[in-house]
Symmetry: C2
Amino acid sequence: PCSNGLLDFAALPSFDAQQIDRAERSMWRYRSMLLPDGVEAISLGEGWTPLIGGQIDDRDIIFKVESQNPTGSFKDRGAALLVSVLKAAGASLIHDDSSGNAGTALAAYSARAGLRAKLFVPGYASPSKLNMIRLYGATLDAVEGPRSAATEASKAAAKLGDSVYASHIGHPFSVLAYRTIAYEIWEQLGQRAPTGIVAPLGHGSQVLGLMDGFRDLLTTGLIAHLPRVVGVQALACGPLLARWQGQPSSSEGSTLAEGIRIVNPIRAEALLDGLRECGGTIVGVSEEQIIDGLNKLGRLGLAVEPTCAVVWHGWQQVKDQFGPEATIVLSLTGAGSKTPQLDQLLR
Amino acid sequence: PCSNGLLDFAALPSFDAQQIDRAERSMWRYRSMLLPDGVEAISLGEGWTPLIGGQIDDRDIIFKVESQNPTGSFKDRGAALLVSVLKAAGASLIHDDSSGNAGTALAAYSARAGLRAKLFVPGYASPSKLNMIRLYGATLDAVEGPRSAATEASKAAAKLGDSVYASHIGHPFSVLAYRTIAYEIWEQLGQRAPTGIVAPLGHGSQVLGLMDGFRDLLTTGLIAHLPRVVGVQALACGPLLARWQGQPSSSEGSTLAEGIRIVNPIRAEALLDGLRECGGTIVGVSEEQIIDGLNKLGRLGLAVEPTCAVVWHGWQQVKDQFGPEATIVLSLTGAGSKTPQLDQLLR
């Protein structure tokens, strides 16, 4: 337990490249970093996603296509690991609060594991977003009020005892699982680190996992430097951007990038420390820039959700800070096929 | 050219396991079977999809998760190869007729290749299905009348000259690309063939590709027998089922399995011959069985579209023809996240 009530690991094994199962087509090629021997990995084929090249304004860019995970987002990695751990620990009923990618992923992996799952969702969540969760057989509990009301209901349920609170935020397994994105990028680049990585930033779980993963590789001497990580927030809801710039946070508005619409990010200190350590930064993009990025990525054959379309203009803001020879990875965290009212965003 | 106006290959290289690029995370690990040296492969990371185990009614089953392709269906393999060939041949503008997975895939790969694409679609196609095609930047041409009117418009456009008819049906590249599904299953099973494969059946392109691919492996002595392929049609539109059973085809109705709602399948003779050769068969499922299969697969953590949900009850119909030790692969051809009105199908 951390001082703020979150859980973290006391110790983890060192990264060992010899332990990579190179025949395994999923994130479980790094199984030795994720689970003790003998614990069953609950898998739908998550991870080992494509790393494909492209060009933006005559500059070479590399996309990590996390949208190609089983339920369409990088959250599948975290859900796979968390559900594996909870099942091994004897859970039969779990719950969490999310109406988005994390909830979809948890429902899918619970189904895969044969666990019952309950999702507390805001009462205002659109039915179309909840259909996938229902298809996976999870129970939905709509909670009236703001998003935080669903979290409170979820916490309260945990105290009743028969269900395990499978918080994708509070447990440290998601961030651990996201280290595999770093390992994969390293392998797929031919065992080297990129110069920079641009990723959406909400709670910061993915960014933390990326930084942790590359720190593992640095510690074991497999890379010579950490990539500079650029976290991109929506200007409409940018509490970490405000802190990074030393300003009071006043931006808690609505944004198309609903997956990173996080007013009170947790693990913020670790995140800001990590960004300073690697020479990274935080930038913000407008709603119009999100829409433009969505369409620009589409014209490259990449259909993503608005949440990760932030990386397009995020990259535009920092590109002059990287030389022309820099190896830049843009993380495409979620698929566009489930974007509501896509027709209104097409340009 | 074949007698019916379709195109086919005069000769193809033999399958050579030594040529597999085992470090490549996509169908291009079989590049030597697909493209001549020097031709650029247009790729979004298609293929090398997960093969994951599961259970249906206490019988072990293996799922080939084609829904995890870049645009959510196995059609990405065909589009990647076709667009690679057309780009190498100098095309700059291409067109096809499809409002479904094939059109989506062609639009995405055209964008990736920097080709302009036009899709002729039925006037009744739902706007939500066309949004992804628009996001990829393809031009849409809505054609009033039945589905066949879009095909006629597409053929007519080909005669005007400046655009290449990139028919995913008429060209033989799709079927060639689908051979890679067979190669992957063989590799992922530890270099052996399954006993049986159950797959949705419309025009039969995937089934033909699977049979061709395993025939390649048989010819080169890498497997000892062909898997028995079971094609599943919707009873509401089952012309190949009718022919298989020696009955006049009278079933041309509407079905939820819109991806296999094919009234006049082409390459039918080759398909029926192939099924006889491998000891396969064709079965049909009702609309209620499609809905049931969709929900049953969902409860395993697999969200698929109605078109490929046919495999659940297709398998139920043939399972007694396979012993308990049989290795059975169910092909999950398309993702469920784009299913229209999913809420009405949830049970």
